[in-house]
């Protein structure tokens, strides 16, 4: 059992899936010999050959659309978009085809594809390299959207995504690609694609986050614990379909909810959680549902990007406001 990073967890899951099922093919820009700009696909081409690990031309529309054709033939394409800021040309194919192929053909053709892409800011990357626009994908019916926040969840959720018979967008939080190491057993065990992970139990407030923000949120929970506040921390993980059951049960217990995401506030996934609470939580909500999010403005260039991202103090402050509500 090795201690590995999140990005190594991705790599391990890819290798596992490829060795289990010869229909799995991995492709994208620079995923071959170069092993991906974040090294997520390192070693795969050497191990599985150039037919199954392919560098494509620089064509994002094609990267998205080709997967639909491959999947219709029973391949299990796992395509990479090099950064989330370059995923937009694939939306046409994701929305009009990938997510609809089964519906359109009454199940005659299906689309078991995965589109992987690095997600989020905080790594001082160039312009357009720090995006967290999961909303554009979450809103699409028929698509699953998944994001891990630990090496083990990266491994288990990616395996599940590749095995899933329907299209999945798999987001990878760059900021924690190498933040921490964790023991991950390469046992081929997948994680479920429709449940949240309760990372810490608590009684005073429910904190919900995903991706890199889970880290900030856990740190905020630590800070709150020092102040005597018991926070429950949930990693949403499968953003679509979202496990509102777990979230509602938690908020029913704590009475308070703060959602943390780096995506822009308006119609970030926090909106859906808030709206669900506004519908189903009125009898137990003891405080306003707070959203600590990126602003409704453009992600700044790296010198000031941290101002945009939710920080531990911003999370703590929101929790304090919720606690002080009366």
């Amino acid at each position: 059992m090795a201690e590995i990073t999140l990005v190594e967890g991705i790599n391990l899951a890819l290798a596992r899936a490829m060795s289990e099922d010869e229909n799995v093919v991995v492709y994208g820009e620079d995923v071959g010999l170069n092993g991906g700009v974040f090294r997520a696909t390192v070693g795969l081409q050497e191990r599985f050959g150039r037919d199954r690990v392919m560098d494509t031309p620089l064509s994002e529309t094609l990267i998205g659309g080709m997967a639909v054709g491959m999947a219709a033939q029973g391949l299990r394409p796992v395509a990479e978009i090099q950064f989330m800021g370059f995923i937009y040309p694939t939306i046409d194919q994701l929305l009009n085809h990938a997510s609809r192929m089964r519906t359109r053909t009454r199940g005659r053709l299906t689309c078991p594809m995965v589109l992987r892409t690095p997600h989020g800011g905080g790594i001082h990357a160039p312009e357009h390299h720090s995006e967290s626009t999961e909303t554009l994908l979450i809103h699409i019916p028929g698509l699953r959207v998944v994001i891990p926040s630990s090496p083990a969840r990266a491994y288990g959720l990616l395996l599940a995504s590749i095995r899933d018979p329907d299209p999945v967008v798999f987001l990878e939080p760059t900021r924690i690609y190498r933040l921490a190491r964790q023991e991950v057993v390469d046992d081929g065990e997948a994680l479920p694609l429709d449940v949240c992970f309760t990372l810490r139990e608590g009684t005073d407030v429910t904190l919900i986050a995903w991706g890199a923000m889970v880290q900030e949120t856990l740190e905020a929970a630590d800070a709150l614990a020092e102040q005597g506040v018991s926070a429950e921390v949930i990693d949403a993980a499968t953003l679509k379909p979202l496990d509102m059951g777990t979230i509602l049960a938690s908020v029913e217990k704590t009475g308070r909810c703060v959602v943390v995401h780096e995506a822009a506030r308006t119609l970030g996934l926090g909106a859906e959680i808030g709206a669900e609470l506004a519908e189903k939580g009125l009898l137990f909500l003891m405080a306003p549902v707070k959203r600590v999010t990126g602003y409704d403005t453009v992600m700044p260039l790296p010198r000031t990007e941290m101002r945009y991202l939710p920080s531990v103090p911003r999370i703590v402050k929101a929790v304090r406001e919720a606690l002080e509500f009366a």
């Binding site: 031309p57 659309g65 053909t105 379909p241």
Partner: protein, 364 residues
């Protein structure tokens, strides 16, 4: 200055407008009897189109796109394909789909607004009709890639219109097909119009065939109203594809004789004179003339064929009209292989609402 690359685009016609051979038939059509099924499919398609239009005009079908005048292309393509090849069609390739085994009733069901029309009984690996223009190009190369790495001698055929050649998808797909030498054929049905936009406003390229030069493989132009020329070109492309030589682009020159769809009025943007001139190049007329000249076809044959086609079409209409409406659960039951629990409440609500609505209709 040195010349580092040179290209030519060739145009091929085998059967001219008057029904005379001006080239030699492909080997696959050397038996005169083999020509009759081609003519038959063109006539059947035309009968189907006419019926569909009349259904639409009388409120019995949704918007419909006729292939009037372009039947030779789909006929040649569909009949040249092997059963295990894959077709990625537009909405205007009825003949190709019929040749593939798509039931006429399925196309009516589809245009009648019901997803089951894309659940073909045969050619189950063919893509459904593609409405977002050009997007099917990416699907075809994806399928072709699967054929290639599995070492299957199969070909993906991507059909598209002249308008579609302006989409980046077409170009990105061609480019990868070229560099990966994929077994795919891009067949451009150049019917001179993309709704109201004429071919001349779509691109300054002298031919659409030359667009493949950007992707490093051959493009050729054929008379798209000449079913023999299209067959010749596609067979050649298939041979290349099956022997590992990669993709081919074929531009088939034809003309959209009908409005773009039943929702369009072409009279707004083109002259009746132009259309009339193009009617002279009709693919059916010339094929029939040739068959007659070869002693393969008589007025009686024609009459019988017309009757047969009318009957077949009528049978399809009956099947279509007998199809019951989908239930409300159908919105949910094909979204995922198994419905996530999160959607069960929505499904239940939809079923309840539909039941209430039905009750109200019954009451009211």
């Amino acid at each position: 200055m040195t010349t580092v690359a040179q290209f030519e685009v060739e145009f091929t016609r085998i059967l001219d407008e008057t029904g005379q051979l001006v080239g030699s038939l492909p080997d696959s059509l050397s038996d005169p009897q083999s020509l009759v099924p081609l003519y038959r499919l063109m006539v059947l398609t035309r009968a189907f189109d006419a019926k569909a239009i009349s259904l639409q005009r009388t409120g019995q079908l949704g918007t419909y796109a006729s292939s009037l005048g372009q039947e030779a292309i789909g006929t040649a393509v569909g009949t040249a394909m092997r059963a295990d090849d894959v077709l990625a069609p537009t909405y205007r390739e009825q003949a190709a789909q019929f040749a593939r085994g798509v039931a006429m009733s399925d196309l009516l069901i589809y245009w009648g607004g019901d997803e089951r029309g894309s659940d073909f009984e045969k050619c189950r690996e063919d893509f459904p009709i593609c409405v977002p223009i050009g997007t099917q190009c990416c699907h075809a190369v994806g399928a072709a890639y699967a054929f290639k790495i599995r070492k299957q001698p199969r070909v993906a055929v991507c059909m598209l219109g002249d308008g579609a050649t302006s989409r980046g998808d077409f170009y990105e797909a061609m480019n990868i097909a070229g560099v990966w030498k994929l077994p795919v054929v891009f067949l451009v049905n150049n019917n001179q119009w993309a709704i109201s936009v004429p071919r001349s406003a779509q691109s300054a390229a002298e031919t659409l065939a030359q667009k493949s030069i950007a992707a490093g493989f051959e493009g050729l132009q054929v008379d798209g109203n000449d079913v023999f020329a299209v067959r010749w070109a596609i067979e050649r492309a298939f041979e290349r594809a099956r022997s590992g030589d990669g993709p081919t682009l074929i531009e088939a020159l034809t003309y959209r004789l009908h409005d773009h769809t039943t929702a369009d009025s072409a009279a707004r943007y083109r002259s009746e004179d132009e259309v009339e001139a193009m009617r002279q190049r009709d693919p059916l007329k010339r094929t029939r003339a040739y068959l007659e000249s070869q002693g393969q076809w008589t007025d009686d044959d024609e009459k019988r064929l017309q009757e047969e086609c009318a009957e077949e079409v009528e049978a399809a209409v009956n099947t279509y009209q007998a199809s019951e409406m989908l239930g409300p659960e159908a919105m949910f039951d094909y979204l995922f292989e198994s419905l996530p629990s999160q959607l069960v409440a929505q499904r239940d609500a939809a079923i309840a609402d539909a039941a209430e609505a039905a009750e109200e209709r019954a009451d009211g």
